[in-house]
């Protein structure tokens, strides 16, 4: 359920690497409960932006707030309230599913009972209960992705950041992944996702299209399709890119 309450506010965000401007004056807001997509080609500046919002990278200038906390001065507070899943979906390959959950759960300060309950729920939902004691490295890619996402939201963060989460798997698996995202929304978690798959852009509530470090479009997929007279987001993107 989308509200008009912003959980992320970005004003004039700039990130420079030397002379190269990766993020050029970005302005946007993300509202509680929505799926906000950051679309663009590789190198457009999506990953840079998301890393700044997660507190992994220091911005050059701007006023940014995530979950109510300032990105410059309150990064640690931000981290307590968010989840993150990156392209490499960094779970420990040499640890089992159970051990990864125990670690991240503990690190986010989850109480043991709560963690156990959510774990059971999560594994049942994914159909992976039988694999709780398997090492992550032994699991297929699609399962790893779903697990990584589920573990990222296990501690019920306000916002979860997903950086190109569905690379390298077939469309069916990607669809299943997005079902998980919808379920997270139901629980009240806001989802900020970057992707270069245009079909995934359709699944978002609102989409921001980045090119060369700037935001060149920001609206719902329907509005964008109308605006650019396109049948799908792929066409929208191609028209904008020209």
């Amino acid at each position: 359920m989308i509200t008009r309450e912003p959980v992320i506010t970005v004003k004039n965000m700039v990130k420079k690497f030397g002379n190269f401007i990766a993020n050029d004056n970005l302005n946007f807001e993300v509202y509680k409960g929505e799926i906000f997509g950051f679309i663009g080609a590789n190198g457009a500046g999506k990953t840079t932006a998301i890393r700044i919002l997660c507190g992994l990278s220091t911005p050059t200038s701007g006023e940014m707030k995530v979950a109510g906390y300032d990105v410059f001065r309150q990064t640690e507070k931000i981290k307590q309230n968010i989840g993150y899943m990156s392209q490499k979906f960094s779970l420990y390959e040499d640890l089992t599913v159970y051990e990864n959950i125990r670690f991240y759960g503990g690190v986010y300060g989850m109480k043991i009972a709560e963690r156990k309950a959510r774990t059971k729920e999560m594994l049942d939902r994914l159909g992976l209960t039988a694999y709780e004691n398997r090492k992550i490295g032994d699991l297929p890619l699609g399962w790893k992705q779903k697990l990584a996402f589920s573990i990222a939201i296990l501690h019920n963060p306000k916002i979860v950041f997903l950086d190109e989460p569905t690379g390298g798997v077939d469309p069916i698996t990607r669809r299943q992944f997005w079902n998980l995202i919808y379920e997270a929304i139901e629980k009240g978690i806001t989802v900020f996702v970057t992707t270069h798959y245009m079909d995934e852009a359709e699944y978002c509530d609102r989409v921001s299209i980045m090119a060369d470090g700037k935001i060149v479009a920001l609206d719902t997929p329907e509005n964008l399709k109308k605006q650019y007279d396109a049948a799908n987001m792929d066409e929208v993107f191609l028209k904008i890119a020209r």
Partner: protein
């Protein structure tokens, strides 16, 4: 605090699951104590001596038999001439040659003095001096015996200084006692720097470090999580290595073990922090291993493990002020062999502590969760 508990839990699980880690932890001490300590010795086992006897007299044969009877010397006799001895020296078959001149017996009887010529293969200066020293002693003793028998010059004429030498802490001059503490230092240094340090670079390489950086884990918790397991393993290996050394060749343990392990703890923190610091500036495990490997070689060779630091040129000794191995080798030898106490090693303790604190601080500072 709870977070630290979870971090340690993860680290230990990963370490013990790593198939190549366990053999290293257990096999390395064994190999180092049993092979390296036994191999790295300057203690002479035997001296190969050739005797060319031009005199063939009772005295010369007696002198020869002094050496034959001495288990330390392996004697080749019946050489026809000096050239044969020189040939053996050339072929690396003997260490020393003694040439007994033609009028040996006669000169001793009449003039009370005679010469023998010694040829020494001096390529290895230390071995040469030691073996020559032993040889001189045998000759000297024999010389004394003869003089006493044949009547020496009046006491007024012969003056000598009676030197009583005693060797403290290691009267049998056992070289293993000297090497083993040093090799133990190398053992735990390698464990600390290589295993501990490289661990962090691996996380960087794999990407899991990003996931860590995005959680509320504090910097010090993460660093401690990387440090503490290897601190434990390092101390364990020190104990294990010490036990092996005790069983294999009865290494003395004169000082306080508590003091020893306390110092080892500080030292481990230092080298672990150093390894971590190197990992924060390395992108790949290879780069990291490389820099550490290079640094280690230099530090080990300069630490006084193989050759005394006082013999080194002044510039080298100055470099040793920042060589952690130098301090810790000294501490290990002092505590184990000499029974030194805290006051005795205070200077080294102070140096190590200052270094440990600085480098630990540097590692924490350098590690950025937000880059």
């Amino acid at each position: 605090m709870r977070t630290l508990y979870y971090i340690l839990q993860k680290e230990f699980t990963q370490i013990f699951r790593n198939k190549s880690m366990l053999p290293v932890i257990f096999v390395m001490p064994l190999v180092q104590m049993l092979i390296l300590v036994f191999a790295a010795t300057n203690e002479l086992r035997q001296v190969d001596l050739a005797i060319v006897d031009f005199d063939h007299s009772a005295s010369s044969r007696k002198l020869t038999s002094e050496f034959m009877g001495n288990p330390f010397f392996i004697v080749k006799q019946n050489l026809a001439n000096t050239k044969e001895a020189e040939d053996l020296l050339m072929r690396n078959k003997i260490d020393l040659a003694m040439i007994i001149p033609k009028d040996f017996d006669k000169d001793l009887a009449t003039k009370k003095s005679t010469d023998v010529q010694i040829l020494v293969d001096a390529i290895n200066g230390m071995a040469a001096q030691l073996s020559f020293g032993y040889l001189s002693n045998v000759i000297g003793n024999y010389s004394q015996k003869i003089l006493i028998k044949t009547g020496k010059p009046e006491p007024g004429m012969m003056k000598s200084i009676d030197i009583k030498s005693t060797y403290w802490f290691n009267p049998q001059l056992n070289f293993k006692y000297y090497m083993a503490p040093g090799i133990l230092v190398v053992l735990i240094t390698v464990i600390g720097i290589m295993l501990g340090g490289m661990n962090l670079v691996r996380e960087k390489e794999l990407g899991t470090i990003e996931q860590i950086n995005v959680t509320p884990i504090r910097k010090w918790q993460f660093i401690a999580g990387k440090l503490l397991p290897f601190l434990g393993i390092g101390l364990f290996d020190l104990a294990f290595g010490l036990l092996i050394a005790r069983l294999a060749f009865n290494i003395p343990i004169r000082g306080s073990l508590l003091l020893l392990f306390g110092m080892a703890g500080i030292y481990l923190i230092l080298v672990l922090s150093l390894g971590l610091f190197i990992s924060t500036i390395s992108e790949t495990v290879q780069q990291g291993t490389f820099v550490t490997f290079f640094m280690l070689i230099v530090f080990i060779l300069m630490s006084g493990l193989f050759t005394p630091v006082e013999s080194m040129p002044d510039w080298a000794q100055k470099i040793d002020y920042i060589n952690p191995l130098y301090y810790f080798v000294k501490i290990m030898r002092s505590i184990l062999l000499k029974g030194s106490n805290f006051a005795d090693i205070f200077n080294e303790f102070a140096a190590l502590s200052i270094f440990a604190a600085s480098i630990f601080g540097l590692a924490i500072f350098r590690y950025r969760k937000t880059s």
